[in-house]
């Protein structure tokens, strides 16, 4: 079958799959930002219980595979009475996993804010919460955006795994088409190119733009 004809027949399914991948990616990114911020901050808490809880969470999620976590959340959690449908389990697992990596980025960035800023905020009598929210976090945010650019790509790649719990994303559609046509080069090749275009020509430029505009906002262009 010529490639053009192949696209004509299966293009729609690739598109549907890509759409699910995009939705999974966006939701997983939101989850991981929330997880990263909360666990990153908890990791720096002076309360030992809070701090160790965050450390244990981060070590567990960084120390095991995303696939193991995904299967655990999807197949084992229901045994404890928490049943998530496959779509939710998918982005929650990816988000929680990547969030653990993100938490370390958050911590690193907060520690990288110069000490003078902390002292100055204290000197003008800001409360710790105010200091964090108005002085430290905005600067830490700009510092951590470049590494987040890489992490966001990892999140996008991570969403491919949700196909293994039958979420009908791009990866899943590619596998289905491959089973029915045996045109592996065309099928997996097309999927690879879609992922590549998505990462390299949509996500990366957007993150670069975001980095620049944020740096400008706090006067560091």
């Amino acid at each position: 079958m010529p490639y053009f004809e192949f696209l004509e027949t299966y293009g729609g399914r690739f598109l549907e799959g890509s759409l699910i991948t995009v939705v999974q990616f966006v939701l997983a990114t939101i989850v991981s930002v929330v997880v990263a911020l909360s666990f990153g901050l908890m990791r720096m808490s002076s309360n030992l219980a809070v701090k160790s809880f965050a450390t244990v969470y981060i070590e567990i999620f960084r120390g095991t595979s995303l696939l193991v976590q995904l299967f655990w959340i999807f197949f084992v959690l229901p045994l404890f009475g928490i049943t998530l449908d496959k779509f939710t389990a998918g982005f929650i697992a990816v988000g929680m996993n990547m969030g653990a990596y993100g938490a370390e980025l958050v911590r690193g960035a907060i520690l990288a804010v110069p000490k003078g800023q902390w002292e100055a905020a204290k000197a003008i009598n800001m409360t710790p919460a105010q200091r964090m929210r108005r002085i430290i976090l905005p600067q830490a945010f700009v510092i951590m955006l470049p590494p987040w650019g890489n992490l966001v790509i990892e999140i996008m790649k991570g969403t491919a795994l949700v196909a293994l719990i039958s979420v009908t994303d791009l990866m899943f559609e590619a596998r289905q088409i491959n089973i029915s046509t045996f045109l592996s080069v065309q099928t997996f090749g097309t999927a690879l190119i879609i992922y590549y275009v998505f990462a390299r020509f949509l996500i990366t430029p957007f993150m670069r733009f975001f980095e620049r505009s944020m740096a400008r906002k706090i006067g560091r262009a």
Binding site: G63, T64, S65, L67, Q69, F75, S184, G189, R200
Partner: protein, 221 residues
């Protein structure tokens, strides 16, 4: 649902066996990645702009598409051209090439961290390029690259579960098989998670120690 210890002990031998296979897959993949990564980084430093640009783009392509899809691609594309690769071979190739792209970036960072004066000095004493690399650049580029290389060693280990989809009998594959046979997923998936933690945490710790030791040996801070 209750945890069944008797059954855990019963299936444990299979998991120990599978752990060995997982380690083999990770080790084999890493060996490919270490060597191929070096080729990729050196190819990016040739004076031919076109070669440099192509290799750069290939590295970007590999880094921004999901490993799972690459595994499928390698496994299914061969037969279409009459080359039949076993799950092990295609799995090792896929994971090795994927991580070679990451390692080439680590090497690049290491090589770029060597001060320019070292190159100039080597040139001044009329050292050929290969000798400069071997005796001046690589020894100095290695210590800053160790932590990155170590991270990807743990990373490759954690990504081996993806090989289960093409039938490599590693930990995840065993857990799936045992789970499906007995219709109990709590113990198998939890055990896989614990085994991963038990190996990746000490490894990460050892790598940090090793990096410190190398830095001390080389007389760097």
């Amino acid at each position: 649902m209750e945890w069944r210890w008797d059954w855990t002990w019963e299936i444990l031998p299979r998991f120990i066996d599978a752990t060995g296979k997982t380690l083999m897959a990770a080790g084999g993949g890493y060996a490919i990645a270490v060597v191929l990564g070096l080729v990729l980084v050196l190819a990016q430093r040739t004076p031919y702009r076109i070669v440099t640009m192509c290799v750069r783009e290939v590295v970007e392509f590999i880094r921004s598409t999901p490993l799972l899809l690459q595994v499928f691609f390698v496994f299914y594309v061969g037969p279409q051209f009459g080359i039949n690769l076993s799950p092990w071979t295609s799995g090792l190739i896929a994971i090795g090439v994927h991580y070679a792209a990451y390692l080439s970036e680590v090497y690049r960072g290491g090589i770029e961290s060597v001060p320019k004066g070292q190159w100039e000095a080597a040139k001044a004493i009329n050292m050929p390029v290969t000798q400069t690399y071997r005796r001046i650049i690589i020894p100095q580029a290695l210590p800053p690259a160790i932590s990155g290389m170590g991270n990807y060693l743990v990373g490759i280990f954690k990504d081996t579960p993806m090989l289960s989809v093409i039938g490599v009998a590693e930990l995840m594959h065993t857990a799936n098989a045992v789970g499906a046979l007995n219709y109990r997923y709590l113990e198998p998936y939890t055990m896989v998670g614990v085994i991963f933690l038990a190996i990746s945490l000490p490894t990460a710790f050892l790598i940090t120690q090793f990096e410190k030791w190398v830095r001390r040996k080389m007389g760097m801070k």
